[in-house]
Each structure stands twice: as C-alpha cells, then as structure tokens.
C-alpha cells in the first residue's frame, strides 16, 4: 500500500504541480495576452477613432469647402449679379418707393389720429368757454341791467345780446393718395407683367417707371409735410383761441363783479334813499327827481354807473367769437318768453 499510496501521492503531486504550472502558464499567457491586447485594442481603437475623426474632418472639410465655394459663388457672383439686375430693371427703386410709401402711410395715420384727438379736446374746451361767456352775458342783461334799471330808470336798453357760437374752423384733412395712383409699376402685385416689360425693354422702361414712382412718392411726402404743417398751425391757433377766450371770460366776469358792486353802491348809498324819496314825490315836484339835485359824488357815481352800463352793453352785443343766426333766433324767442314772464311778475309785484 505504501508504494501505491506513495505513487498515488506522487502522482497527485505531479498532477497538482502540472496543473499549477499549467494554470500559471495559462494565467501568465492570459496576462501577457491581456497586457498586449489591451494596448493593441487601444491602438486599434485610437486608429479607428483617428480614422473616423480624419474622415469626419475630411468630410467636414469637404462640406466646408463646398459650402465656402458655394458661399463664395453666392457672395461674390450671384448676389452682385442679382443686385445689378435689380438696379438695371428698377426693382431696387421700386423697393425703395414701397418702403417709403409704407412709412409715409403709417406716419400720416398716426399724425391724423393725434390731430383729431387734439381737435376734439380743444373743441370741447372752447365750447365750455363759449357757454360760460354766453351765461355771463345773460347774467349781465337779465340780472345786472335790471338792477341798474331800478337806479337809472330812464335808461332804455335792448335786452338782446349777441349769442356766442363757436364753429370749428375748417379742419378737414386731405387724404393720402392710394397706392394704385402712385405706383406706375408693381413688382409685387403684377410680377409677370412687370418682368415681361423689363425683359422686352431690357429694363429701361421698368426702370423709368420705377424712377417716376419714386418721384411721385417723394412728391407725396412733401404734400404730407404741408398737411402736417397745416395741422400744427390749426392746433396752435386753437390753443391761442382758447387762451384768448379764457381771457375774455375773465374780463367779463371781473367787469360784471365790479359792475354789480357799483350798482349795489349806487343802490345802497345814503343819498340813494333821498333819491328814492324823490321818486315817490316826483308827481309833486319834478325838480326833486333830477340827478342834478344829488351831491357831486353821487352824480359821479351815477355817471360811472351809466358809463359802465354803456361799456357792458357794447361788450354783450359784440360777437366775441362768432354767431350762428339760427341759434340766435331760437335763443331770442326763449329770451322773449322769459322777459314776458318777468314783466308779468313785476307787474304783479307792483300791483
């Protein structure tokens, strides 16, 4: 047994040794292979990538070159040629005319809208002022003069006054000419006709028409410039009119306040009472009703009252802004009615 087991042991040992060596060799080989393969693979990969990159680069380069050439041809040959052609047939001028017309239309529309807004505003303001003036005039005639009449009863006045009426001065805005009226040629709307004309006349006729179209646009621009200047002038005028009217109203109000004071003073002065008494006794002694019987100061006061009345009477009869005859007639009838009722009331009181 011993040998056999020894043999078996030995065999096993040998086998183990051989396996070990084999494994070692295999592992070593594997290591070597792995060690070699990896870089080879890496190198192969790198080469592959390099080739791909190069191919890509070449491809891009070719594309770029083709693109550059194409761009070069486009930039240096095609575009200038198209440009030249456009210039020769008048398309460039047409484009310029079109662009200018569009700008002009927008500018015109904006300005017109702003103008109409301003006109509306001033119309309203002036209307209010006019109404105030009319009211003031009415007050003077219907109230203050009546009070004055109770002091200087001999004064006879026309109780009509000039009714102010404001009509906005001509603010009609000239229209812009339509595109069809200005454009002798239209490459956008009639391209076939336009290009055919250009071809037949070698561009001369279309260039002429485009040039003349541009001239018309320039003329229209100048026309619009005048229209704008007129609009500005109208607005300035309305501003000043408003200021002048406001100032006139101030005069009226101030004068009417002062007049009321004078009437009041004339009416309320100590000496007025005596004058009043004279009124009651005038049937007995005419001399006592005369103004010359008053003291100097009161005579001056009466004279002042008369003068002021005269001034105000002329002022209210004056058309400060303008008159509308139909409107006046309507107002006169209204006033007559009021006057009639007032007189009736006065008689009733007197009675």
């Amino acid at each position: 047994m011993g040998i056999w087991s020894g043999f078996k042991k030995g065999l096993k040992k040998a086998k183990d040794m051989a396996c070990g060596v084999g494994k070692a060799i295999y592992n070593g080989f594997k290591t070597v292979v792995t060690t070699v393969a990896e870089p080879v693979v890496e190198v192969a990969k790198a080469i592959g990538e390099g080739v791909t990159t190069m191919a890509k680069a070449v491809g891009e380069g070719v594309t770029n070159m083709a693109g550059s050439a194409g761009r070069f041809i486009k930039d240096k040959i095609i575009d200038p040629a198209l440009d030249f052609l456009s210039e020769a047939i008048g398309k460039k001028k047409f484009e310029e005319a079109k662009s200018r017309y569009e700008k002009l239309t927008n500018k015109y529309n904006d300005k017109r809208a702003a103008y109409e807004r301003q006109i509306g505003y001033f119309a309203n303001e002036i209307k209010n002022l006019v109404e105030s003036v009319n009211a003031e005039k009415q007050y003077i005639i219907n109230t203050l003069f009546v009070k004055m009449n109770s002091v200087l009863s001999k004064i006879k006045y026309d109780n009509k006054f000039s009714l102010e009426y404001f009509k906005m001065p001509g603010t009609k805005v000239e229209p812009l000419r339509k595109r069809e009226e200005l454009f002798l040629i239209d490459f956008d709307k009639d391209p076939v006709k336009s290009y055919l004309k250009a071809f037949v006349s070698l561009g001369r006729w279309t260039k002429k028409q485009a040039t003349e179209t541009l001239d018309k646009i320039i003329e229209e621009e100048k026309k619009v410039e005048e229209i704008f200047t007129k609009m500005d002038a109208d607005i300035e005028r309305l501003k000043l009119l408003k200021t002048a009217l406001a100032q006139t109203l101030t005069y009226l109000k101030d004068m009417s306040a002062m007049y009321e004071n004078v009437v009041y003073k004339a009416n309320n002065s100590a000496k007025y009472l005596r004058f009043k008494c004279m009124q009651f006794t005038h049937g007995v002694s005419k001399d006592y009703c005369k103004l010359e019987a008053l003291p100097k100061a009161d005579r001056e006061l009466m004279f002042a009252l008369f003068n002021f009345t005269k001034i105000l009477d002329d002022v209210v009869k004056m058309g400060l802004v303008g008159q509308d005859t139909d409107e006046i007639k309507r107002y006169e009838m209204k006033l007559q009615k009021c006057q009639f009722e007032f007189n009736k009331a006065r008689e009733t009181i007197a009675a």
Partner: protein, 666 residues
C-alpha cells in the same frame, strides 16, 4: 407783404374783445389743397405749349433753314449762319450767359466743305467770268483799249480754263475723251472676250452672238467715261490718270453690238430705254441695270482705293515727257555715281536695276507731290471754311445782344420796367449802352473763344475735306465714324467733364441721348440728299429740300425722345418744382404760425396787464368811493375796449339825463 406780416398786423391791431374772433378767422394758409398744387404742376408740364416749343417751332425753323440753302443765301450759310443756329443762340441768350457759341452741326459742315472742295459747274463758270473780267481789265490797262465787246461763258472758259487757285490742278475739269478713254484697254478686253474665236456672247443679252469682224462687237463703258469723269472731277485726291484707270477698268466694260453701243452713247444703262425706236426687251434692261449697279460699285471701290493710295503717298501718277527727261537725268546721275564707286561702267543687269531705281525715284517724287498737293488743297479749303465760320461766329456774338434788345422791346415795350428810363430816347440810349457794355466786357472771351473755335473748326473741316475725297458707302461709313467720335467726346464731356457740371445724372444721360438724336438728324440730312438725288428733283432745290426734311426728322425724333423721357428728366424737373413750391408754402405757413404765436402771446399778455391795471384802479376807486377816479378809469377801460362813451363828464350826462324822458343806450 408776407403772410406772416399780415397775421402779425391783424393780431396787433385787434382790440382785446376782438382777439378771439381775430384768431379764429386768421388765414394761416390758403384754402388751396396740396393735391391741387401737384395737379397744377402736372398740368403745366403736360401742356400743349410743350408741343409748340418742341415740334412746331423746330419744323418752322427747318423751313427757314431750307430757304437759306438757296444760292442767294449761300454767303450766310458758308459762314455757318443757319436759321436754326441763329435762333438757338439768340433765343437762349441772356446778359448773364457766357459769350460762347454753339458748334456748327455736321451737316452744315459737310455741305460747306463740299462747296469748297467739290466741282460745281455754276461756280466754275462764275469764277471763270470774274477771273476773265479781271484779266480783261488788266489787258485794257496795258493796251489802253477795250479788249472785247461781248464774251460768253465758253469764251470765259477758254480764257481762264476753269482753274482756280485751290482747285485740283492735276484734274481737267471739262471732259476730254482723249484723256479719259483708253482704246488699248478696250481692245484688249474685246480680244479677251473673244479668246481667239470668231463669235462670242453679247454681255447685255440683246443679241445671241456677236461677230468679231467689223462693228459686230464693241466694248462699251457700262458707266460712260463722261459720267465717271463727272462723278469724280471734283475729287481733290484724284487726277486725270486716276479717272482714266477707274473708267477703263474691266469691271466697267461690257462687250455688246456696235450699233447698240453707238445708240447708247453717253447714257447710263438705266437711261437707255429704246434702240432703233423700239423699247428694249425687259430681260436686256434687267441685265444692263444689274451690270450698271455692279460697275458703279466697282468704280466706287476703285475710286476709294485710289484716294487711299494718294493719301498714303502711293497715288497713281502719269509719267509725262518732262518726267521721262527727269528719269533719264536721274539714270545718268546714278550711272555716274556707280562708276565712281565701282571704278567701272555698270553691266547690263546693273543698268536695268539703275533704270528701275531712277523710275522709282521719280515716280515716288510725283506721288509725294500729288499727296502734298491734296493735303494742301484740303487744308486751304479747311482754312477758308474756318475763316468763314469764325466770321459767322463773330457776327452771332454781336447779333445776340441786339436780338435780345429787339425781343425785349416787343415783349415789354421800349421803356421796360427794368431799364428805369425816363423817356423813349433815354431808353434807346440805355439799350445801346447795354449792348455795347456787354460786347466790350466780353471781347476777350469772344476773341479767345473764336480762336479756339477756329482751331477746332480747322481740324474738323480738314477731316471733313479728307472724308469728302472718298465716295459711296465708304464715305458714309467714315462720316458715321467721325460723327461717332464727336458724339463720344461730347458725351464724355457731359458725363464726366465740365460740360456736365451742375447737372444730375438723369439730365446728363438725357443730354447725351438728345445729342445722339441730333447727330442722327445730321446723318439723316446727308442720307436724304443721297436718296433725293435718285429722284428728279431740280438741283437748285436738292439741298434746301434735304435740309428741310432733315430738320423735320430731327424735330420729330427729338419730340418723340422728349415725350418718351427715357431718363425721367421731366419727372425729375417736375418733382423738383413741386418740392420747391411746397417748401415755400411750408415755410410760409410756419412763418405765419410763428408770427401768430409770438404776436398773440405778446398782445394777450400786454392786454391782460393793461386790463389788470385798469381793474385794480377801478376797484380801488370803488372801495375808496373816489367816483371821479372811477369815471376816469372807466374812460380808460372804454378806450381799452375801443368803446365810445357819449358823455365827456358827469355834468353833461346829468343835464341830458334830467332833460329827457328816456335815454337809449345804443
């Protein structure tokens, strides 16, 4: 007064109560719409006046130009004083314009030069007459008695032989058959056609065959030699020898029957209609006409070649007896020179060479002499023409201010406003003074300009004279090239030179196109003359009619150009006119608005200040019960408002108030 001034005035004179109304009623701009202005300008540019100016006037002037072409007016035309030129210069003249004169048009130059250089039988006859009369007078002086009682044109011609100081001395002006016809060449041609046979075909096709014997066949000059001589006798660059060579060219020969040739005589093939009283067959006429056209073409080509040769010192020359003697002398000289150089007499071959050299030299001398004569004659004609043109220019320079004054008298009266004359005599004196001052102040410019024009005209006339030596299509072609160069130079000056200063691009191109149009008119005049020559128009009317028609064509062409307005110059002018008008209107409106603003604010402030003072004083018076002061302020207020108060003081008022039952305010 401007609108701004009016506005300012209206505002400053408005009372405080009128201010609002005045402002409302101010006219800051006229009621005309802007579009109306544009429409008016368009209407003006399209008006019929344009037609009168651009078509009617030029046609009427063309009629005048045609009339001035008549012989009685030739002295004027020779000086370049055509109706159109006079009108153009005078109508555009102002005292501010430069004293320069327009160039003479190409057609006038062509006609004038043709008169100077071409053969004109009438001219020659009258020239002969004058020269013969002069000779007669000289003879009378010498002999102390009248030479002859009566002479006719033939006598004058014999006496003076029709040679002028500058006409071609190598050309016999009258047809001499012996000098022109070359019998040898004609016979040679005949023999060539027969080519050793007894019969040959008739080149005109009248007979089927021609016999060699007797008068069976004769060589005919297709274009008769006399006609060729007539066509070319005025040519400065040709001589008798040239005409002999050209007339006797094989291309101008046709072999036909003797009787037919005799019957044709001096007529052109187109004029030869009947033979022996019978009309020629159509096919014969066709053949003869065709041959005539070809022959004329060959003659023209041959003439042009001869002219070119002359101008390049290679012209045809005839060796006369004298020239032969010269050749012999030259030969002897050359032989002597040879002997001296070589120490022996020349051998046979060498003598032949010396002989040809001597002939060559003499021939060359003759050719050079011929060329020099040609250039000298053309130059003399050019100088004469340029002198005439210079005189014409001077006359025009003087005529322009005079025309201006006459025109102004008709338009504005003798005592025109701008003259500030106190009487008619004063006005006349002022006008004369104006003309005189203009001439004296521009004399330097006139003289310098004239000198420059003389030189330019000399060069142009010289070239025109050279062109005139050529014939047919070649002449026309060279003329077109000359005009083309002129156009190119003028166009360059307009487009890039000082002639175009102050013009827009469109105006420059329009001017160039119109200049080309005018040149077309010139060439039309020449062309029409050539066409009319083929019609039976009397010679005396030929040039006037072609001038008139040329003028009409030019006027119509220019009218069409103007209407077409290829470069939109009319549109540009119209646009500029509209811009100018609108700029003026806008400036006026802005001025008026500015004036309104400034004045109104100033006046309103002033008025307010004034009123406030019055109001304050019044309130003070009321408060202090100072009614005397109150009244005095009321008077101030009344004045302020431009209101009249009826009473000057309280006593007056009181007295009146107390005396009446009622007191009406108004």
């Amino acid at each position: 007064m401007t609108r701004a001034d009016i506005v300012q005035n209206q505002i400053k004179t408005a009372t405080p109560l009128e201010m609002a109304k005045t402002l409302k009623e101010l006219e800051l701009y006229d009621k005309k719409e802007a579009q109306e202005i544009i429409d008016e300008v368009y209407k003006k540019f399209d008006s019929g006046d344009h037609l009168t100016d651009n078509l009617l006037k030029p046609v009427v002037i063309s009629v005048a130009d045609g009339v001035l072409e008549l012989k009685m007016f030739s002295p004027m035309r020779k000086k370049g004083l055509t109706a159109s030129r006079i009108y153009e210069e005078c109508a555009n003249f102002t005292y501010d314009s430069k004293a320069s004169i327009s160039e003479i048009d190409g057609y006038s130059e062509y006609k004038s030069m043709r008169d100077e250089t071409g053969y004109d039988a009438d001219y020659t006859t009258s020239h002969n007459r004058k020269a013969a009369v002069q000779m007669g007078k000289t003879a009378e002086k010498i002999l102390g008695k009248k030479v002859v009682d009566e002479l006719n044109d033939a006598d004058y011609s014999k006496m003076y032989q029709g040679k002028s100081e500058y006409r071609n001395p190598d050309m016999t002006p009258e047809y001499d058959r012996k000098k022109v016809e070359d019998k040898k060449k004609m016979n040679k041609y005949k023999e060539k056609q027969f080519d050793g046979k007894d019969k040959t075909k008739d080149e005109y096709g009248y007979l089927a065959e021609l016999e060699h014997t007797g008068e069976g066949a004769q060589t005919d000059h297709i274009i008769p030699a006399e006609k060729v001589h007539e066509q070319l006798r005025g040519n400065m660059a040709l001589n008798d020898e040239d005409i002999r060579i050209i007339s006797n060219d094989d291309n101008n020969f046709a072999l036909t029957s003797g009787p037919l040739n005799k019957s044709k005589g001096k007529k052109l093939n187109e004029e030869f209609e009947k033979f022996h009283g019978e009309p020629l067959p159509d096919r014969v006429k066709e053949t003869m006409k065709r041959k005539s056209e070809i022959a004329q073409e060959h003659i023209n080509n041959a003439a042009n070649q001869a002219v070119s040769k002359t101008l390049t010192f290679q012209g045809n020359v005839k060796i006369t007896t004298e020239d032969r003697a010269r050749i012999v002398r030259e030969k002897k000289r050359l032989e002597a020179q040879f002997e001296k150089e070589h120490g022996r007499k020349p051998k046979r071959e060498e003598r032949i060479a010396i002989n040809s050299k001597a002939e060559e030299k003499i021939t060359k001398n003759l050719q050079v002499k011929k060329a020099v004569n040609t250039y000298k004659n053309v130059g003399t004609a050019a100088v004469n023409q340029s002198k005439d043109f210079a005189i014409g220019n001077l006359v025009l320079c003087l005529l322009k201010p005079i025309y201006y004054e006459v025109h102004d008298i008709f338009k504005n009266g003798l005592k025109a406003k701008n003259l500030h004359a106190s009487s008619n005599i004063d006005a006349i004196k002022l006008r004369f003074k104006r003309v005189k001052d203009y001439i004296f102040s521009h004399i330097k410019e006139i003289v310098q300009g004239n000198l420059l024009d003389f030189i330019k005209s000399l060069v142009s006339s010289f070239i025109e004279g050279i062109i005139d030596c050529f014939v047919g299509m070649v002449k026309k072609a060279i003329k077109i090239v000359k005009e083309g160069i002129k156009i190119f130079v003028k166009a360059y000056k307009i487009l890039w030179g000082k002639d175009g200063e102050g013009l827009t691009d469109r105006q420059k191109w329009d001017a160039v196109i119109k200049m080309i149009g005018a040149s077309i008119g010139i060439l039309a005049g020449i062309g029409i003359e050539a066409v009319l020559q083929s019609f039976a128009i009397p010679k005396i009317l030929l040039v006037p009619v072609s001038t008139f028609l040329g003028g009409v064509i030019t006027a119509v062409f220019m009218y069409v150009l103007d209407k077409a307005d290829l470069f939109s110059t009319k549109s540009e002018q119209r646009r500029n006119a509209i811009i100018k008008i609108f700029d003026a209107r806008i400036a006026e409106i802005k001025g008026a608005t500015e004036a309104m603003n400034t004045s109104a604010i100033e006046v309103l402030n002033e008025q307010r200040k004034c009123y406030d003072n019055i109001s304050a004083a019044m309130k003070n018076a009321i408060n202090t019960k100072n009614y005397v002061e109150l009244n005095s302020q009321l008077f101030v207020m009344a004045k302020f408002f431009s209101i009249e108060l009826p009473y000057s003081n309280s006593d007056e008022f009181v007295k009146h108030y107390d005396s009446v039952r009622e007191l009406v305010l108004n």
